[in-house]
């Protein structure tokens, strides 16, 4: 899809203004970001700094009011709503803090959905493999309500990785989990990422977790702070 030497995520002077009852709110005030293929990037910053909004723009869930967005080689401003949906199913997997599994579907069906969207005939076989990979091979027929928090997040992880996306987005994936469970999930996530050589963009409040990434991007008041911490990618990838 994208050429190996091109960045997977390119944000150029991205602005987002939202109208609210109190007037216009500037959520993003000129964000520039490049994430290379295979890179892992942690986004940190206080609540309301624009982390989640930036991630939504990268996922094509929100349109910026200014600037340029290219993800996996595609110019998102050129895509209409359905085009963005197709872009996501090809390129992006998302893991949420609140898991966001579909309550009426079993674990297997939840993981199979993105594959079904992609028209994959082996959707259920691959979903089964995916669940095995996160250690839930024995719980494929369970509904989200019958699973623990950690198990639900594993299903969500399997779902995000099911279609082997080039870009994995995670919004505080351990925020709703206890420390031990969270740490297991993170290990699993990094392992899955590594196997697929996917790019990871991770929002977190957890400094230890951030430190596991190649690079830490700090956001404040809708901008990326210049004191962004850089790790040489080779350190983590080795």
């Amino acid at each position: 899809m994208s050429k190996p030497d091109l960045p997977v995520v390119e944000l150029d002077d991205v602005h987002l203004k939202l109208a609210s009852a109190a007037g216009e709110v500037n959520i993003l005030r000129g964000v520039d970001l490049r994430v290379a293929r295979g890179e892992t990037v942690a986004v940190v910053g206080p609540s309301g700094s624009g982390k989640s909004t930036m991630m939504m723009i990268v996922a094509g869930l929100e349109r910026p009011t200014g600037g340029r967005v290219r993800v996996a080689g595609e110019d998102l401003s050129a895509l209409d709503e359905d085009g963005l949906a197709l872009f996501r199913r090809r390129n992006v997997g998302i893991v949420f803090q609140a898991f966001h599994l579909i309550a009426t579907m079993t674990a297997l069906e939840n993981v199979a959905v993105p594959l079904e969207f992609a028209g994959d005939r082996d959707a259920f076989d691959r979903a089964r493999e995916g669940l095995k990979a996160v250690g839930l091979g024995g719980r494929i027929g369970h509904y989200p309500g019958q699973l623990s928090g950690g198990e639900q997040q594993r299903v969500a992880l399997a779902r995000a990785c099911a279609a082997e996306p080039a870009l994995l987005l995670a919004d505080e994936p351990t925020g709703n989990l206890d420390a031990a469970t969270g740490s297991a999930i993170i290990d699993l996530m990094f392992e899955l990422r590594r196997k697929r050589d996917a790019t990871l963009l991770l929002i977190t409040h957890d400094n230890e977790l951030a430190a596991r990434c190649d690079r830490i991007v700090r956001m404040l008041d809708g901008r990326i702070q210049p004191d962004t911490v850089l790790h040489p990618p080779s350190v983590q990838r080795a």
Binding site: A21, E81, H100, V113, F117
Partner: protein
């Protein structure tokens, strides 16, 4: 690429969650569809029976009938050439005993009667034997009602005209009796040979001869009928084939079915609000799922399909149940009204009405569900990241708005296209749309007013008002659903009430007490003298009368002329005709001039304006009427407006003098008589003039009232379904706000409110909602009823305070009861657990 299979798969997974939240949706659709399917199936069952039994009901393959006169020998000879012939003569007459007299429907039959079917006598036995002359006395078969009215027992004797008859059999069923409604008296059957002995057969007397022909070749009925017409072009007889065997009953059934279908459709529309509420509520709970699906790459179109499929699947379930219930209607309702109809409804099922009902069900579902489903499509995937504090008002996209509009238009088109009276159905559609808009606006207005006055100091009232205007308040839903159901009820109550008032008060106040028919010209002077001399007689009127058939309208044969539905009754059979030199009392000319009193030129005719318009006739056009076998052309000189509710002597056609005097005719007289004198007058007239039939207007009105009563019961039962649907929607809307109400009650208790204060606040809220809904319903219902009565049924409108107050009272009590039923528990809730979880 089609994502339909995927959409179906996803929809099926979601539906596994069960039907929770869809009970009101299902119940509303089941009710509405069952009502429409039931009415349609029942009407179809009757229609099928009328068609299957057409030969028996007609009494043969073809019936030729004359008024005033019998067929000529040549004509009878011709009929016999076609097959077996049976002759009967029907007329109204007075039956008398020593102490009693009654208007009866006299039917004289020849030995060949009935050609088809069987006459059922209470004790069995042969009809011919019962009617034969024995020891010089003719026999008669009589209906039980005649025995009661005349105080007779089997074997007793009574007189009709100059002849004496003995009751030899009790008549239970005639195969060819098509209408048991609107007959003026019980049936008495005698032999045709006995009729001359009564002395009732005088020139111009109102007797109808019917010749039923059972053709040797039934398949050639049309050709044979044509040959009758060409052989006797000017006979002036009425020819009925199997397709016209029961036009009156068929028309009656069609009309009632049409009204009830519209009432059923109202129920479905009220239920539509429930459908919309249920779908909206369901989808609100699905915001997260939809956002997740979009995050995972589902295009909006797929999301919309997934939920539309679910809605249609549930609708299909409800419609199937509704159709099953409706299909049983002919079997279930049939026995209840078997006595009022000449045939029993055949069982069915009938594809036509069921298809129509299903189409109504699906279109209603789409009209009400497309909007919320299309809005769900617009739920942004970003909803997962951001709290939805104040949901942005999301209008569905243009294509969805167009689809909703298309469903609404299709619904309207179906309602109009499937109705036998398109004008009325179109009026219904406009009225329904206006009522919806009205209640939608009323819901908004109530919220707006509540907001304006919400600073009132009394805390209970303030809380109630706040509940009526806050975001997510059930007020608009409650007002819409309850209001629509109540409107239907008010329309029916007002319409029926005004009809009954007209019948019970208005008509008797101006109408004569008696109609006397078949007065011979030489009897009219002594007849008038007798009445004027009798005590208690207030007013006597008389006019010459004979019967004739309209043959051509402005030169065009009746069967080819374009005639509006409201004017068709004048061409189906004989009409009463009269002539007058001067305008009859009370004449209101609306066009043209009355002829000079000494006019002796070409025949002129004065016509009822509505009928003339219905036939597209203008002043100066020609009308051709067949009187006693002779076609008479008359030029329309003027048009009159007739108030039929006066029950005076009203003729659609009044001719100028000079043409009809020479034809044999009789007189009709009316008399207004003090109530106490009625019996004496009836006795005096029937003793002195045995051939004159006396119709008591009060008795006739009572018959009409009975019929209207049973129609009203049918209408109210169907309307009750609309109200029930409204109640369901109401309950659903209140249940939706139930959790919030409990939470609110708990918080109020924490803040120090007593249970009594909270209860009062809720009561005020529900009471105000019921009051608002019923006030608008009364206004809208009264207006609809006013239009229906004054423009369509031509009955004067007066607001019926009783039903209106009952409506308001019921509504207020119902909302309070339903609202409290859900809230009562809230008052007893312990505060702590709820607050911990909140």
């Amino acid at each position: 690429m089609s994502d339909l299979p995927l959409a179906l798969r996803l929809a099926r997974r979601e539906l596994r969650g069960g039907l929770k939240g869809f009970r009101v949706f299902l119940a509303c659709l089941i009710l509405g569809v069952a009502a429409i399917a039931g009415v349609g199936s029942f009407a179809a069952g009757i229609t099928r029976a009328l068609q299957e039994d057409a030969r028996v009901l007609l009494g043969g393959d073809v019936e030729l009938s004359f008024t005033h006169r019998a067929a000529t020998p040549e004509q009878i000879e011709f009929m016999r050439g076609g097959g077996a012939v049976s002759t009967i003569a029907e007329m109204r007459a007075m039956a008398r005993t020593e102490n009693a007299r009654a208007l009866i429907e006299l039917k004289s039959i020849d030995p060949a009667y009935p050609l088809l079917g069987e006459v059922r006598l209470a004790q069995g036995g042969a009809l011919g034997e019962a009617l034969a002359r024995r020891d010089g006395v003719w026999g008669a078969a009589v209906e039980r009602a005649a025995l009661t009215r005349l105080g007779l027992s089997p074997g007793d004797e009574f007189a009709v005209g100059d002849a004496t008859f003995a009751v030899r059999a009790i008549l239970e069923r005639e195969p060819d009796r098509t209408a048991n409604v609107f007959t003026l008296g019980p049936r008495i059957m005698i032999a045709l040979d006995a009729l001359p002995d009564t002395g009732l057969l005088q020139p111009g007397s109102l007797v109808r001869y019917k010749y039923r022909v059972l053709l040797d070749n039934p398949a050639g009925a049309a050709a044979w009928t044509e040959s009758v017409k060409t052989s006797f072009p000017d006979a002036g007889w009425r020819i009925r084939g199997l397709s016209e065997a029961t036009p009156g009953v068929q028309r009656w059934i069609d009309r009632i079915a049409m009204f009830l279908t519209l009432v059923g459709l109202s129920a479905l529309l009220v239920g539509g609000v429930g459908v919309a509420n249920a779908v909206r509520g369901y989808l609100e709970g699905k915001t997260q799922t939809i956002a997740v699906l979009k995050c995972l790459g589902a295009p909006g179109r797929l999301v919309m399909r997934v939920y539309l499929i679910q809605v249609l699947a549930l609708a299909s379930l409800a419609i199937a149940v509704g159709l099953a219930i409706g299909a049983l209607a002919p079997v279930a309702i049939g026995p209840l009204i078997a006595d009022s109809l000449p045939v029993a409804a055949r069982g069915g099922p009938y594809a036509g009405p069921l298809l129509i009902a299903a189409a109504f069900g699906y279109l209603t579902t789409l009209a009400f569900a497309l909007w919320p489903v299309a809005r769900a499509r617009e739920i942004p995937a970003a909803a997962l990241f951001r709290d939805l504090v104040a949901p942005v008002r999301r209008w569905p996209r243009r294509s969805a708005i167009a689809a909703t509009a298309a469903a609404v238009l299709a619904l309207a088109a179906l309602a109009i296209a499937t109705s036998i009276d398109r004008t009325l159905a179109a009026g219904f559609v406009v009225g329904a749309a206006a009522t919806f808009a009205l209640f939608y606006a009323a819901g908004g207005l109530v919220g707006w007013i509540a907001q304006r006055v919400s600073h009132i100091r009394y805390p209970g009232l303030r809380l109630a008002l706040a509940n009526m205007h806050r975001p997510g308040s059930p007020a608009p839903s409650v007002i819409l659903s309850l209001g629509l159901g109540l409107t239907v009820m008010v329309v029916i109550a007002e319409t029926q009430g005004n009809f009954m008032r007209t019948l019970r008060e208005q008509i008797p106040a101006v109408a004569p007490s008696f109609f006397f028919i078949d007065i011979q010209p030489d009897q009219i002077a002594p007849f008038e003298a007798l009445l004027r001399a009798a005590p208690g007689v207030e007013h006597v009127e008389k006019v010459p009368a004979l019967r004739g058939r309209i043959m051509r309208i402005a030169g065009v044969p009746v069967e080819k002329a374009q005639i509006a539905p409201e004017a068709r009754w004048t061409t189906g059979s004989d009409r009463g005709l009269t002539y007058a030199a001067t305008p009859p009392p009370g004449t209101r000319l609306v066009a043209g001039e009355w002829w000079p009193a000494d006019y002796r030129g070409e025949p002129l005719v004065s016509m009822d304006v509505q009928i003339a318009r219905g036939m597209g006739l203008e002043i100066g056009d020609m009308l051709t009427v067949n009187v006693l076998g002779r076609d008479v052309d008359a030029r329309i000189a003027n048009l009159r407006a007739i108030d039929w509710t006066s029950l005076g002597i009203n003729f659609v056609l009044v001719f100028s003098p000079g043409m009809l005097e020479s034809a044999p005719h009789t007189f009709i007289a009316t008399a207004r008589v003090a109530e106490t004198a009625e019996d004496a007058i009836e006795k005096a007239v029937s003793e002195r003039f045995a051939n004159v039939s006396t119709i008591r207007v009060k008795a006739a009105l009572a018959t009409v009232e009975e019929t209207l009563d049973s129609i009203a019961v049918a209408a109210r039962s169907t309307a009750a379904i609309a109200l029930l649907a409204g109640g369901l929607v109401l309950a659903g809307a209140l249940a939706a706000s139930h959790r919030r109400r409990i939470y609110e009650a708990v918080v109020l208790k924490v803040l120090g409110a007593t249970r009594r204060e909270i209860l009062t606040a809720f009561l005020i809220e529900f009471g105000l909602l019921g009051l608002a809904a019923s006030a608008v319903a009364v206004a809208a219902g009264s207006l609809s009823s006013y239009i229906l009565l004054t423009h369509y049924m031509r009955v004067e409108f007066q607001l019926m305070t009783g039903p209106v107050l009952a409506t308001i009272g019921t509504a207020v009590v119902a909302v309070m009861a339903l609202g409290l039923a859900g809230t009562w528990r809230a008052l007893g809730q312990k505060a702590a657990p709820l607050l911990r979880h909140a």
